[in-house]
Symmetry: C2
Subunit: 221 residues, 2 copies
Amino acid sequence: MRKRYRTIPPAGNGEVIALAEHGPRTGRPMRADARRNYEKLVEQARIAFTEFGVDAPLDEISRRAGVASGTLYRHFPTRLDLIEAVLAGQIAELVNLGRGLLTAEDASAALSRWLRAALAHALTYRGLAAAVMNSALDQDNDRASTWHAQMFEVGAALLARARRSGAVGADADPADVLKMVGAIAWAVQDAPDGSTQADRMLTLLMNGLHAPHRSDSRPEE
Amino acid sequence: MRKRYRTIPPAGNGEVIALAEHGPRTGRPMRADARRNYEKLVEQARIAFTEFGVDAPLDEISRRAGVASGTLYRHFPTRLDLIEAVLAGQIAELVNLGRGLLTAEDASAALSRWLRAALAHALTYRGLAAAVMNSALDQDNDRASTWHAQMFEVGAALLARARRSGAVGADADPADVLKMVGAIAWAVQDAPDGSTQADRMLTLLMNGLHAPHRSDSRPEE
DNA sequence: ACCTGAACACCGTTCAAGT
DNA sequence: ACCTGAACACCGTTCAAGT
């Protein structure tokens, strides 16, 4: 199938269970067995994504969770639904970190630190998180989860604060910056020296933010 | 299947045929019918990738080319082999452009122009070219084609020249820069306003290059 | 040396029957 | 309301037979 991952990322925390308490379809509480199945599916998906990558066979996941394939499909109509559930806990942590950093003294350092944390998040599961972040950032996307919305809010606030402090020049679009972070994660996902390369690339991005904004975007020719 | 593309990119030029003259396996000239099949497969793959994206069914491609599935498999053992053949002509053009720009007066503008051309290339076929560029950039990759090797050579030369001219500060790794270009293409591949966003992001990258190099890559915490 | 095309394996999706 | 699991559809890969 695919190369295996070295380390298994930490499991999603209580946030996942908070999601499972209410059915994503009805809004009403889930039946106890349905909720158990939901949680088993998310847990086994997390393990399978770690082992096989994004393309882990769905029936393998349902088999490990001890449910039929139709049950997986009922809870998660698309693969992306399942993926988002797996990532939910990690994103919540990122949001919390960002909120804490909003009161840090050095606004520029706070931004830098949060972007590095976001990059670390984006790198999980072979750049899978990066792909989800990226698709959630597209405007016409009605799939952008609540978690992602919060994440972008925090990112924008940190960027605005850094700009007000004078450390970041001119008008960088927060969505652009976050897209770049996801893009870096994607770019290094299979590189042998991935994390050091990602570090250098993020430094390049931070330099671009610090620089006085010069628009040299003349058209192609 | 998938959303359709607006425009069909220009066909690969003579370079593709140059490849087809010798079998990729033996090194000796291909039999006339084999070569015809090779070319028909590349042409139909180009069209199918445009219509369906990267995941165009292989048997659809072989069906349109009028050959059996085994023939496609003989010429192109993996999907990536087929993709590389489709992109070959475009990459050759990019290399030529870069070589011409090596003697331009303004080294910084030359780099900027070539990076924008590289970005345009990376955007073809829904960011498919970006994925191929990116995987070719990984060091342990024995699949990096001759074309890509030339491309990275040209990019490195343009960057070095811009650095010597003083317009680009310090030591940016050419591979990092090209990875960023591919990453930008990937990030905007499905965005509604993709090309304008890509433009802004590339400007951010250029700003990062122009800035005096500051290394703020302190570890995570 | 190359091509054909049937056979196989794999995997996602649906749905009738059951609780 | 939810679950099961067989059935179906789709697609990549192999390989024996043919030229």
